[in-house]
Structure formats: C-alpha cells, structure tokens
C-alpha cells in the first residue's frame, strides 16, 4: 500500500498555481496536511481523490498512475470533502444505502456494513431521523460513515472539523484516531490541535508548496531551544509583536505571558520552553512567508 505524489502541480485559470512541484510518499498511517486557508490543501485532496487531474507531475497508487487509471484507486478510496452536506430529506440509513449502491456494494453486505458503521460513528440511535435535523458534527459523522462504506485503504478527509463546536471536534478527532490502522489516512486541516491529536506524520503546506514533512516528534525536535516564554508589561506587547513571532500571549495579574519562536533568547529573563506543534506550524509558515516576526526569527 503506497501512495506517491511526484512533482505534482496544478495551474488554474488566470495563471494561479494551486499546487507547485509537490512531492510526497505515503504508507499506512495518518498524515495531517496542515496549512492556512488557500494553501492548496483541497486542491491536493481533489487530485488524490481522482476528482481533478494535475497540470503536471503524477500520482501513483501501488505503482499505477491514478490520472490514467482512476478506477483502481477509487475501488479502495474513502473521501469526505470539505463543507460536506447531506440530503436533508433522507435519513442516515437511506443516505448510506444510496452511497453504498453507487459504490457497487451488494445489498445484504451494504445493510450489514451500514449498521456496523452507524455504531462506529455513534449514530445508530438517530439513524431514522431526517439528516436535515442533524447537528454539524452528526452530519460530519454521516460523512465519515459514507467514506468508510467500502472499508477503504486510502481515506481522505478534507477539513472535517471546520465549523464544529469543541466537543464535536474532540469526538471527531478521536474517531479518526480509531480509524487509523492498516490504511493511509490523509487529514487536511488548518487547526493544528487536530493534527496533534491524530497524526503520525505532518506535512506543512503553504502557497501550493510542501514546506515540511516529518513525524510530529521530529518537527518538535527542530524547534528545541527556539521557543521562549517570559512576562512583559502590557505596554511592551506591541513592540514585542513587531520584533518576534508570537505563538501565544495571555494577560495575567503579573503582566502579559508571552510565548515566542526565536533563534536566540528574546530577553535576559526569557525561559526556553518545550515546543508544541502550534509553534512548529507557525515557524515553518513564517519561514516560507519570509515574515519571521522579528530580527531573531528563523
């Protein structure tokens, strides 16, 4: 089971690059594709899902070019697009039956699989209610259920937690973690905590280009000794913002607790702290943008 993205580019009308010379090799595990809005995540997802074709480069699934022979991948593909909606008048069972029929699942096997998946996504009790009455999180769970109907080897979920409340987000992240096994899961998100919770690998993308691809531990190791925290008077906050890449700040009774990413200590009393993936994400995105947040930035 091997997915290879080889120098893939996508050029849109108006000569806008959606992806540029993007390469990646994937084996079973959960890859979190993180990047800001407009970074090219959905473009890559649609190419991997065989919905669109790259302008240049190629993607192979177990050695087969998916643009030329998409059916081989489609048979083992589960896909949950961004902003996924549903047919409001159908209930979960009817919707999943329709999707299963389109995927070519035989009737009896489909019914068994649907019942099993409704338990997995915790919607069995609500299965007869019209989907129009479902919450955003419930709809996303129906979406993941349809993606899992054919027990896919490659599962692609595009921004699945966008618009969900914190409780639903946690529930959905846990569900994705549970699903990771002997399959490749690609999770696209601009919320780093989603990646932190579920990913075995992280790829940072911006401007259609791959900035970094590594295991979370290695990304964190790259930032060892570059994340600092100290307390400043609130009057100095603006000046610090101009000079450093601020990861977070919190006002407390003793002043503003500032956390920055910087090659050198930003102040004599600044303490080096353990980096998080949020710090790493900011570090790589800022590096690519050339705006490091200050003279001591990367």
């Amino acid at each position: 089971m091997r997915l290879v993205i080889d120098a893939v580019s996508k050029l849109y009308r108006g000569r806008v690059w959606g992806l540029r010379d993007f390469s990646l090799e994937l084996e079973p595990g959960v890859l979190a594709l993180v990047g800001p809005n407009g970074a090219g995540k959905s473009t890559l997802m649609r190419i991997l899902a065989t919905i669109t074709k790259p302008t240049a480069g190629r993607v192979t699934w177990n050695g087969t070019d998916i643009s030329r022979s998409p059916d081989q991948l489609r048979a083992v593909l589960g896909y949950l697009p961004q902003d996924f909606g549903v047919y409001p008048n159908l209930n979960a069972v009817e919707f999943l039956q329709y999707m299963a029929a389109l995927k070519g699942l035989p009737g009896r096997a489909a019914r068994q699989r649907i019942e099993e998946l409704l338990h997995v996504v915790n919607l069995f009790e609500a299965r007869d209610r019209p989907l129009g009455g479902y919450s955003g999180g419930m709809k996303q769970r129906v979406g993941i259920a349809q993606a899992l109907l054919n027990d896919p080897q490659l599962l692609i979920v595009d921004e699945p937690t966008a618009g969900l409340d914190p409780e639903e987000r946690v529930r959905f992240r846990n569900l994705l973690s549970d699903l990771a096994g002997e399959r490749i899961v690609i999770l696209s998100t601009h919320i780093v905590s989603d990646a932190e919770a579920a990913a075995t690998e992280i790829a940072v993308i911006n401007g259609g280009q791959l900035l970094e691809h590594a295991e979370p531990e290695r990304l964190l190791q790259a930032l060892e000794g570059k994340v600092w925290q100290w307390v400043i008077p609130s009057t100095e906050l603006t000046a610090v913002k101009e000079r450093y890449l601020i990861s977070s700040s919190a006002r407390r009774s003793d002043g503003v607790h500032v956390r920055v990413v910087s090659e050198a200590p930003p102040a004599p009393n600044a303490q080096a702290v353990a980096p998080t993936l949020e710090d790493a994400y900011l570090y790589f995105i800022s590096s690519a943008n050339g705006s490091t947040g200050g003279e001591n930035g990367p």
Partner: protein
C-alpha cells in the same frame, strides 16, 4: 446504465417525498377539485339558462317547479321532461301555498299577454349568491313545444335549424378543444363560455409552469449537491453523463407526475364540472391534444432541463439559482408573454413562427393546438426541430458537466454561461 438508474430513482424518490413538491403537484389540483365541488353543492347542481330541452343527465338535478298558466297556453308537457317536474296550479295563491309547503322550489306565472310580450314571472324563496341564475330550461322547452302546437320535433328544429356538414379542402386540421363541434351546440357558442374561450391561454400558462418548475428542480438539485460537496462524492462513482442523464430522467418523471396531476384535474373538472362551469354538453379535451401535450412537454423539458443543468454546474450556491433561472428561462418567458397577446391571433405569422421556433414551441404550439385549426405539418415540424435542438443541447451540456465547472466557486453570470455553452457546442 445501472448507476444511471440509481440516480434516477434517487432523484425521483427524494423529489416526490418533498412536502413542497407534494403541495404544488397534488395539493393545488386537490384544492381546485374541492372548490369546484363546493361551488357545485352551493349551486345546487342547477342547469344554465340555455333554453333547450334538458339533457337526461340534467333532469335528475332539476328542481320541482310549478306554474300558473294565465295565458292558457300549456296543453302538453313534453315527454322528455320527467313526470312531476312541472306542476300546474290554477292560481298564484295555490302556487304560493305549495312553495311555502316546500312542494316546489319555485314557480312561474305565464301572463295572459305572453304570446305578444314573452313576459314570464319567476318566484323563488331566498336565492344564495352562488345560485342566482334561474332554472328555466324545462319551462322554456315546454313553452316552445306548446307554442308550436305540441310538436317537439319541430321545436327541436327551431332550436337547431342546421345540421351542417363541412368538407375542408385544406389538409386535415388538428381539432382543438374548442373546435367547431363544440361551438355548434344548440344554445351555446364558444364565445358564450369563458372557460372554453380562455382554454388556450390556460394551456399556455400550464405548460409554461410545467416546464419552468420541472427544469428548476434540476437546477436546484445540481446546485444543492454542488454547494454541499455531495457532487464530489458522486463524481467518484459516476460519470458526468450518468449524473446528468439520471437527474434529467428522474426529475422529468417527477415533473411528469405533476403535469399528470394538473392536466388530470383539468380533465376531471371539464368532464364532471361541465354543468357548474356552464360548459357545453359533451365537451372534452381531444386525445390528440393530450398526446401532443405529452410530446411537447417531454421535449421542452429535456431542452430546458439540460440548459438548467448547465447553469447548475456553474452556480456555486443555491441562493444564486434565481439569477440562473432568469438567464436560462428568458426565451420561454418571452414566448409566454408573447403568447398572452398572440392568443387572439393564433394563426398569424408571428404566432406561427414562434410556435415552430424550438425555444418557444413547447408552449406556443400547445396554445395554437388548443385553439384548433393547425395543419398537421406544423406540430410535426415543431416537434422535430425541438427534438433536434434538445439532443444538441443535452450533448453540449454533458460536455460542460465536468470537474472544472462543478468544483468552481466562481459567481454565475450570463456571459460566462453562454460562453461556456457556445464553446462546447
């Protein structure tokens, strides 16, 4: 093919289960039938003032009436008036007593100078607003027969002096619903009945609504799936042509159901409500008109639904569908507005040309066929041209139905739509 049928089935079932569809397709016709039923009940099923012998079907609904013959004219009650429907009273006092006792619904007073003046007096208790007309056909027929010495055959000839047979040397026209045989009914002309007079306009409006609502279903379906990203999932299992054809056929059947319900209602109303609506006896919509209606609806739907599908592929959000509807439906809207004026001159040059032009023929040819007198070659040519255009448009739109358009978030514009359409043609 199997997957296309799955799409068809899904579209049909989800559409016909929608409350809004049920309301429009079946609720409105049901309401129309209920209104007709209500009016019929309130009117007491009485006949109009045709001045002819009551039909057998009407006699069962005749009210028992009395008369006071001061002229001494009535010596015989015609045989086709059921016994006991017209009761003679020697004077008004007796008739008044019978009326108050409920033995008769009303009574006539035939004045002494009736032969010179034709004066008759009709007395009835508290008429309702819905039964303000006088049920006088039995009395009129009785008077006529008696004035002619009791000769009912002669009276019938006086009412209908001509048994006209027409030989038309031009090719046989398509009979319209208000054809000559309807207008020649005794005591009734086409102009005398508003419903028949406006039937061509009613058909124009109905077919405009059928095609507009049917093809709008397709636009909403595609733009809804596009907005909800379901289209992306469908594209993994289905080809664009499978999606397009499945939707066109599924929603076409739904639209056909709506049309059947509406046309069926019109049919039922005309068949059963003839008396209430004051229609000539024996009036009916010719089967040939129904057949042509089906042909022009299906072809018109295929044409406009395909155009709507093309627009739907380019509309990023459901709320932008209104603009797309206007852009796509503009030709048939123009045809519809023109038809409202052209109904007075249905066989003029403009009406004929527009009824042959494929973008307007689905409604204007039906209007002309309802009027009647359209040579057979014209609906045949119009249907042929429409079918050819529909095939070209379906194929063109299928080529527009690809990921670049379906995934685009660009706003809809008429220029972009027509450019894409012409590029793919």
């Amino acid at each position: 093919m199997r997957k296309m049928i799955l799409v068809l089935r899904h579209e049909l079932l989800t559409t016909i289960r929608r409350p809004s569809f049920l309301l429009v397709a079946f609720g409105i016709p049901l309401l129309a039938i209920l209104v007709l039923l209500g009016v019929t009940i309130l009117k007491g099923g009485s006949s109009g003032s045709g001045g002819i012998a009551p039909e057998a079907s009407e006699t069962s609904e005749l009210e028992v009436q009395g008369y006071v013959d001061q002229a001494g004219l009535i010596s015989v009650i015609p045989q086709d008036i059921p016994q006991g429907y017209l009761l003679a009273y020697p004077n008004e006092d007796h008739a008044q007593q019978a009326l108050q006792a409920g033995e008769i619904a009303a009574y006539f007073v035939i004045f002494e100078d009736y032969i010179e003046t034709g004066n008759l007096h009709y007395i009835r208790p508290n008429p309702s607003p819905f039964s303000a007309h006088v049920q006088d056909s039995a009395m009129r027929w009785t008077l006529l027969v008696n004035v002619l010495g009791g000769n009912a055959e002669l009276a019938q000839r006086v009412i209908d002096p001509v048994n006209l047979q027409v030989t038309d040397l031009t090719p046989e026209p398509q009979n319209g619903a208000s054809g000559d045989h309807e207008c020649s009914k005794p005591g009734m002309t086409c102009e005398s009945n508003l419903l028949i007079r406006y039937l061509p306009t009613i058909m124009l409006v109905l077919f405009y609504i059928f095609i507009l609502t049917g093809s709008s279903l397709l636009l909403r379906s595609i733009s809804g799936e596009k907005e909800s990203s379901v289209i992306e999932i469908l594209m993994l299992s289905l080809s664009p042509l499978q999606i397009l054809s499945g939707k066109i056929m599924g929603l076409g059947i739904a639209a056909l159901l709506q049309m059947a319900a509406w046309v069926g209602t019109v049919y039922i109303v005309l068949r059963t409500g003839g008396q209430t609506l004051n229609l000539p006896a024996g009036f009916q919509i010719p089967p040939s008109l129904l057949a042509w209606g089906l042909v022009f609806f299906l072809l018109g739907y295929a044409l406009y639904a395909s155009l709507m599908a093309g627009a739907g592929a380019m509309v990023p959000k459901l709320k932008e569908t209104t603009q797309a509807t206007w852009v796509v439906m503009m030709p048939i809207m123009i045809g519809y507005l023109a038809g409202l004026f052209l109904v007075e001159e249905p066989h003029g040059v403009i009406a004929t040309v527009l009824s042959l032009f494929p973008l307007t023929s689905p409604i204007l040819m039906i209007m002309r066929l309802t009027v009647g007198g359209v040579p057979l070659w014209q609906p045949l040519l119009a249907a042929g041209l429409l079918a050819l255009t529909a095939i070209i448009v379906v194929r063109t739109v299928a080529r527009m139905f690809h990921a670049q358009n379906l995934l685009s978030g660009q706003s809809f514009s008429a220029k972009r739509f027509y450019t894409a359409l012409l590029q793919r043609a």
